[in-house]
Amino acid sequence: MELDCRGMRCPIPIIKLAQSLKTTSDVRLLSDDPATFPDLTAWARMTGNTFTQINNETFDVRRSD
């Protein structure tokens, strides 16, 4: 699924991402908040989930099961 968080500030994109991952295992996150990349990096380390950065505003996130 695609989760469009553009225009939203931290920590909202990460909160919405975590909510989405409860129902699906793959999320394409769109976010233009400057904290999203560092926060995704830390979040992935803390939760064991993984992500790939596609471009400045696009991140493919996968839940670890």
Partner: protein, 346 residues
């Protein structure tokens, strides 16, 4: 309005220094370079203050310079050692003043790992590297660039001894509860050249206040003594907070390890928590803390220190622990914090 328990970096001026300053400003102040009796007394006090700085900071009399604008010391200390074929290597967790100086010269940012350490490059004798003896956000000591071939600029602290090899070093008196507006710049490298427009041999613009220099020395002596006396108590409080965060709150990213970090600073980030909201709520409950999260920064950018270390930048809380904080105060704070986070995360 109830009382506020402060866990913030802005420490009040040390009472002993405040008492001295009140007296100094009340009596007026004499120019130590003149020869009146009062001036001689001031010259003597200034000399004693220099001794205190030299002893506590590990520098020599001829190396010491006072600055009325501490931030200017980054430019003086770094640019004064840079030549046309130098490269400046600096840490990704250095202060923004270092980034500002670096933007005007050939430079390279050294990435840090999650413990805040960089890999020391080899460098040449023309090059300069920065060494931050303690990071002001996290309390984590920087990497000592022992193997670096070139010069070393230090953002120094009285709590960490200078390494054997250094070229210039800068201290801010606020780091020891000294007065605002006082920097100490020490220059050890004979090749240092004043980067400011100048027409005499002075290293700094000489814009410092003599009463502040003396008050800063009084604060320094007291700070170091009190730190040593109370270090184990502060370490125990820090350890208590860390344990509580991990076992009672969870989903928390704590900067550094208490084994290596200085105990009076603590930075942690809470997953799924809006720092602005948390800090406002803590404030309403009578607790003042700092934050490095974007929503709290003037430029709306997340803390470059947290980002460079790969730590969570949202939900960040920064606490400064002091000897006068009690275990009861910390316990009450933690209980309020836990309730607020439960509410915010719901």
């Amino acid at each position: 309005m109830g009382s506020v328990t402060r866990f913030q970096t802005e420490a009040p001026l040390h009472p002993a220094a405040a008492e001295f300053l009140g007296d100094a400003f009340a009596r007026g102040w004499a120019d130590p370079s003149k020869i009146h009796q009062e001036s001689r007394k001031v010259a003597l006090l200034l000399n004693e203050a220099k001794e205190v700085y030299c002893q506590h900071l590990g520098i020599r009399h001829e190396q010491i310079n006072f600055l009325g604008e501490p931030s200017l010391g980054f430019h003086l200390g770094i640019s004064g050692l840079i030549t046309s074929n130098s490269t400046l290597y600096h840490s990704a967790v250095d202060r923004s003043e270092v980034f500002a100086v670096a933007s005007g010269i050939r430079s390279e940012v050294l990435p840090v790992d999650i413990t805040g350490q960089y890999l020391v490059p080899t460098g040449t004798h023309n090059d300069l590297i920065t060494y931050q003896s303690i990071n002001g956000e996290t309390g984590i000591p920087g990497t000592v660039p022992l193997s670096f071939a070139g010069k070393v600029f230090i953002e120094a602290s009285p709590l960490i001894s200078l390494p054997q090899k250094w070229s210039s070093a800068l201290w801010d008196a606020r780091s020891w509860n000294g007065p605002d507006g006082l920097g100490i710049l020490a220059i050890a490298d004979k090749g240092w050249v004043n980067p400011l427009p100048h027409n005499d041999s002075r290293v700094t613009p000489g814009s410092f206040s003599t009463p502040l220099v003396i008050a800063g020395a009084i604060a320094l002596e007291n700070f170091v003594r009190e730190f040593n006396e109370h270090e184990s108590k502060i370490r125990a409080l820090n350890s208590k907070i860390r344990n509580f965060l991990i076992t009672q709150i969870g989903d928390v990213d704590i900067a550094g390890d208490l084994e290596t970090a200085l105990p009076h600073l603590l930075s942690f980030s809470l997953l799924y928590v809006d720092a602005q909201l948390l800090i406002d709520e803590l404030d309403k409950s009578g607790y003042a803390v700092d934050s490095g999260s974007a929503c709290n920064a003037m430029n709306m950018q997340p803390s470059h220190v947290l980002a460079a270390m790969g730590l969570l930048t949202h939900g960040n809380v920064r606490m400064t622990l002091r000897a006068d904080h009690t275990e009861l105060e910390v316990d009450k704070f933690l209980s309020v914090l836990k309730d607020l986070i439960t509410k915010i995360r719901r």
